[in-house]
Symmetry: C2
Subunit: 348 residues, 2 copies
């Protein structure tokens, strides 16, 4: 499938820990004014005078969060950074630095880790962040990636999950459900490949949703857009587990209720056609699919004129008093309670 | 062996991810002035006006960094924090916050994670730091702990690895080799236990070195002592991989050489007697043992009077010009080159 057969395989044992870290990290350049000292000491040294800093961390585990049979390592490196930057942007902050730690088994040759780091480097360049530290160690089984991202924000600009007020509009960036349907296509092709390794599937008609799964982008552009439009959301969260989970997080922390309108949820045509093909309800996917890394926010009605008609932002509902509860208003104008499904691999 | 048989076992699947995080993190209090927002949003928000911040991260993997057959989970939680704080103190900084991420397989019941978090909580209290974030996810095999620690330091106080100058004194805190010899004793008892599960070993004579292995302390007190003595080291590093590795790191980054005197290396009497019992050379252990989490620093000769006679600090050698190389001066007054062994699990 989507796999490079790389003939060069340098065993990690040839390098040892110190040389491995040196080799993998030597090409990280320092570009941020706030980075005083990057990789190579006991800790990185950062300087953020008169700003608040935000810190977030995520752990990606092989077999739980990714499957290397269809996830190229370079994409995985890129995605591991996106997952964390998305949390920084969800604070309305500017991402500035990351640290990357790896636990890796001996089955990975050096070239595999170089691929992974190539993806990390690409992400760092595109998003203008510094890689300032990390740890590389061995693992008994699979690959584990731990990323911590750091960002800065002016005190008055930070947006928490807890600021939504009744009558605020609920707004989502981009479209939902693509990453999950991309995963369904990849899983299906993996099964086909197991039966017939010579199959050459044409995945062009799924290109958008596969890219949403393999190479998601964190919405730095939305934070910049909001600044340009002079809109400060009242609350914000990134959509990593699915819209319904995130809506519930916002409402619980803001102590409010919500009405979300099914017919307003933005879906890409490829999501709709693929859902039809797989015989799955597209609203269910948008609500519970996860991994879209879009931003869910609430804004004051006073800001509506500023965002109206912007193709990147869709109003999908409004905030109510807490006692009104959290509901989805269906196309049939039925009100059904929103329930968290989200990621729950611990149940397996 | 050192194991509590806890009859209560709540499967993690009963809680799911969100409730698990909530349950494990609800007792973390915010005590740091610099913590604006802790756990519960996309990212923590910190504020360090006019100070530099330091960031460090470490990954602990079951079967590589710890063995649960003799490492109680509470100790493991404590140690996972110490490993990271030690890196913060090695910058001459004050540790202020940590984030903790876990990947955990279903074989761990809730009570096991509670034990782990009890150790983390104890560490946070003793060292006066806030736990401000993290991620909990499932793993296919063992337990993986990723900790990121954050600290603050006045611009002029940060100590890097790169500042050592010829004629500076090489100083080490505490004593060396204890953690490694404690591990040897625990490994031996594990083998005995396999053969005879009813054995009740008396480990009193190894209590210091076992504690060095199971419950190491990061040397916050040394940073406070240096401040009191008005000594700013010219370079500093924490001893996690063994003295020889750390000496080499300092010398390479400072572009200097070193003479370390074998007869000056501080050893606890229990290390000496246990080395005799195991028929291992104690200098080899002090040089390569690792996990002592003491601080290795260089200070100007002008500061010698300030530290002279302090029981916490031992002068073990002095910095030379780079071309003189890095040497151990043995008791027989032979000069032998210092070679890095350190941690190298990737070779296995």
């Amino acid at each position: 499938m989507i796999e490079d057969k790389n003939p060069k395989r340098t065993p990690l044992s040839e390098l040892g820990e110190f040389k491995l870290i040196e080799h993998l990290t030597e090409h990280f350049e320092i570009t941020q004014k706030s980075t005083v000292k990057g990789i190579g000491d006991d800790a990185a040294v950062l300087n953020f005078d008169k700003k608040q800093i935000v810190v977030t961390t995520d752990l990606l585990v092989e077999g739980v969060h990714f499957d290397l049979s269809y996830m190229p390592l370079k994409h995985l490196g890129y995605k591991s950074i996106m997952v964390n930057l998305s949390d920084v942007y969800a604070m309305n902050a500017k991402a500035t630095q990351v640290t990357v730690s790896l636990a890796v088994s001996n089955r990975f040759p050096l070239e595999a880790l170089e691929e992974l780091y190539a993806g990390i480097t690409t992400a760092a360049k595109h998003y203008n962040i510094d890689v300032v530290g990390g740890d590389t160690t061995s693992s008994n089984s699979g690959l584990i990636i731990s990323v911590t991202a750091i960002g800065e924000v002016k005190k008055e600009d930070a947006v928490l999950r807890s600021g939504a007020q009744p009558n605020d509009l609920v707004v989502v960036s981009g479209d939902l459900g693509g990453a999950y349907m991309g995963l369904q296509v990849l899983e299906r092709e993996k099964e086909v490949f197991k039966v017939n390794p010579n199959s050459q599937p044409d995945l062009t008609m799924y290109s958008y949703i596969i890219e949403r799964q393999l190479k998601p982008e964190a919405r730095k552009d939305i934070i910049e857009l909001l600044e340009k439009l002079q809109v400060k959301p009242t609350s914000m969260i990134d959509i990593s587990d699915g819209l319904s989970s995130e809506v519930i997080h916002l409402c619980k922390q803001s102590k409010v209720g919500v009405d979300i309108y099914e017919n307003k949820i933005p879906l890409d045509p490829q999501v709709i056609t693929t859902c039809e093909e797989f015989n799955i309800d597209s609203t269910t996917i948008a609500l519970n699919g996860g991994e879209d890394y879009e931003l869910l926010m609430t804004i004051s009605q006073n800001d509506y004129e500023k965002i109206k008609g912007n193709p990147n932002l869709t109003v999908i509902g409004y905030i109510t008093e807490a006692e009104r509860g959290m509901h989805l208003v269906t196309r049939a104008e039925e009100k059904i309670p929103i329930i968290a499904k989200g990621w729950n691999a611990l149940k397996d």
